[in-house]
Amino acid sequence: MAESESLSRDEVAHVAKLALLDLTDEEIDLFTVQLSGVIDTAREMNALDLDGVQPTHHPLGLVNVMRADELRPSIDRDEVLAQAPAVEDDRFKVPPALGEA
């Protein structure tokens, strides 16, 4: 099935890994077909001559906004931590970053 699609199963599995998503075999099969369909539509853009056209990143062409470096109240730390899945000593708690627990 994957042979006839724009994206291969392997590519879909690789992209899932980059996106930190763990897909089942069935999901990889389905996404291979569905994402290939969208990519095929996106290829319609190739029909346009876009040589020398500048890209638009943002409709208003805004530049960075800086504010004065003044003290002001921020969001309450306890209120933020109350919503976290795990907390220890006023910090977000996660499993080990290296190795395994």
């Binding site: 994206l7 590519e11 879909v12 992209v15 899932a16 980059l18 996106a19 930190l20 998503l21 763990d22 897909l23 999901e27 996404f31 569905q34 994402l35 369909g37 969208v38 990519i39 539509t41 996106a42 290829r43 319609e44 853009m45 190739n46 029909a47 346009l48 876009l50 056209v53 500048q54 890209p55 638009t56 990143h57 943002h58 409709p59 208003l60 805004l62 960075n64 906004v65 504010r67 969001i75 309450d76 209120e79 933020v80 919503q83 976290a84 899945p85 795990a86 977000f92 996660v94 499993p95 080990p96 970053a97 290296l98 190795g99 395994e100 627990a101």
Partner: protein, 494 residues
């Protein structure tokens, strides 16, 4: 077609009449809110517009408004007006879920600027409305908490992604509501539910507290039953917000200033690609209503012509690269560390992956995958880069069109409301719903849907009005004229 009991826009009056009554003491805010909460309790089981109804908070707020009015205070232009808020806008202390399992139960520690400004003007939040998960969809079927039903026909979708907010207004659960529009998520459901829906100019209304989807496209706007109510909402919410660095540094646009001015002498251009068979799949009854709207404006003294925006044909593929690319980046923050769902894993990376896998639904995963692919090494120039160049082309073509026209017209949605389940299995068929609305998200220009009659199936059809950047005032001027004609036609027919 008989109107079902679930459909009753402005069941207890529009926002203007409620604010007048409450300010003058003819009605109390408490009685107005109680009326709406009763109607929600009776009918939202069938419609499912709300993820949560904040009944107690709303009654407390109403009583406080009534006390202030009794003390002689002017509480603002939205005194006692119930408002339903799309559940992707932060409300401090009230669950904000984006209709996703990954945020189920999360209570934000701050409130969105738009909600803050509406409540400061006297409005009362009655609940948070259902949406396609993270605003990704055109039918509200992608909600983790079940679909919303169209109040005019419960077997049909309300559109999306702001389907809950559009349905809430059509059902008379609130006279006004808030939506967000990244590719049509206000205008398409407004069209399908027969209410007014506005996407202001990008940056004209603050997005602080809106959970980001596609940051260069997202815009908050109102749903209402009248053009004047949308104008009031816009003026209350608009204007610079130092908390949103993309907010335009200028006061709110005076969109109610020309509602009575008529359209004599205005130049109206129908977008050729959306009024025939250049873009396929736009239904004949929808195009017929568009032509009828143009004729009505001509009768009001406007000149009507046609104008081609050739690159609009490529808006859809460009959008479905840009929006997922930005979404894949924005949704990287949902990793099980600081908020929302955590699924345990032996180390941080495994925990991140398990949390995202367990928390996101299929459409969100699809968009994250698409965006990650479009931005990945070797494909970025071919897909994301090209899409951004098409954005430039669309902006140039719109700019050229506005040298000859004050506003442009197109359909808001290619069809009336379709049946629940009809397009759920085919992402590309669903994406085609956005074909008329996407170009003005890519360009940042304002656009809105105004109800203008019904289709062959008796379901509502909206006409889309588009205007130049920061040209929201003339857009509202034209919308008010279409509304006058539609109301006169309804009365003549009744």
């Amino acid at each position: 077609m008989t109107t079902p009991e679930t459909a009753s826009p402005a069941a207890f009056g529009d926002a203007q009449s409620i604010a007048n009554d409450v300010s003058s003491g003819t009605r109390t805010a408490a009685s107005v809110v109680a009326n709406h909460l009763d109607r929600i309790a009776t009918h939202d089981g069938e419609v499912h517009a709300f993820n949560v109804v904040t009944a107690e908070r709303a009654m407390d707020a109403a009583e406080s408004i009534d006390q202030r009015i009794a003390a002689g205070e002017d509480v603002g232009p939205l005194a006692g007006v119930p408002v339903a808020v799309k559940d992707n806008m932060c409300t401090r202390g009230v669950a904000t879920t984006c209709s996703s399992k990954i945020l189920e139960g999360w209570e934000p520690p701050y409130t969105a600027t738009v909600v803050e400004r509406l409540t400061n003007a006297g409005a009362i939040v009655v609940g948070k409305t259902n949406l396609d998960e993270f605003a990704m969809g055109s039918s509200t079927e992608n909600s983790a908490f079940g679909p919303t039903h169209n109040p005019w026909d419960l077997d049909k979708v309300p559109g999306g992604s702001s389907g809950g907010s559009a349905a809430a207004v059509a059902a008379g659960f609130a006279p006004v509501s808030l939506g967000s529009d990244t590719g049509g998520s206000i205008r398409q459901p407004a069209s399908l539910c027969g209410v007014v829906g506005v996407k202001p100019t990008y940056g004209a209304v603050s997005r602080y507290g809106l959970i980001a989807f596609g940051s260069s496209l997202d815009q908050i706007g109102p749903f209402t039953t009248t053009v004047a109510d949308s104008a009031t909402m816009f003026e209350v919410m608009g204007g610079h917000d130092p908390l949103d660095s993309t907010s335009a540094n200028q006061p709110a646009l005076a969109v109610s200033s020309k509602l009575d001015a008529g359209v004599d002498g205005l130049r109206v251009g129908i977008i050729t690609e959306m009024a025939g068979d250049v873009i396929e799949g736009i239904d004949a009854d929808v195009i017929a209503r568009l032509r009828a709207a143009a004729t009505a404006l001509e009768a009001g003294g406007a000149t009507v012509g046609e104008v081609s925006i050739p690159s609009s044909v490529y808006g859809l593929p460009a959008y479905y690269m840009v929006a997922p690319a930005e979404a894949s980046s924005n949704l990287a923050r949902f990793d099980g560390v600081r908020y929302g769902l955590r699924v345990d894993g032996a180390n941080t990376a495994l925990m991140n992956t398990a949390s995202r896998t367990g928390g996101f639904g299929p459409e969100v995963k699809r968009r994250i995958m698409l965006g990650t692919y479009a931005l990945s090494a070797g494909y970025r120039d071919a897909f994301y880069g090209k899409a951004q160049q098409i954005r430039t082309k669309i902006i140039e073509e719109f700019t050229a069109a506005y040298e000859h026209f004050d506003v442009l017209l197109s359909p808001a949605s290619p069809s009336t409301a379709f049946a629940l389940g009809d397009k759920a299995a085919d992402p590309m068929a669903m994406y085609l719903n956005d074909v008329c609305t996407i170009p003005s998200n890519l360009s940042g220009q304002p656009s809105m849907s105004v109800p203008f009659g019904v289709g062959d199936d008796g379901m509502p059809i909206g006409v889309q009005i588009l205007a130049p950047l920061m040209g929201d005032v003339v857009m509202f001027q034209v919308a008010a004229e279409l509304e006058r004609v539609a109301n006169a036609t309804n009365e003549a027919g009744a």
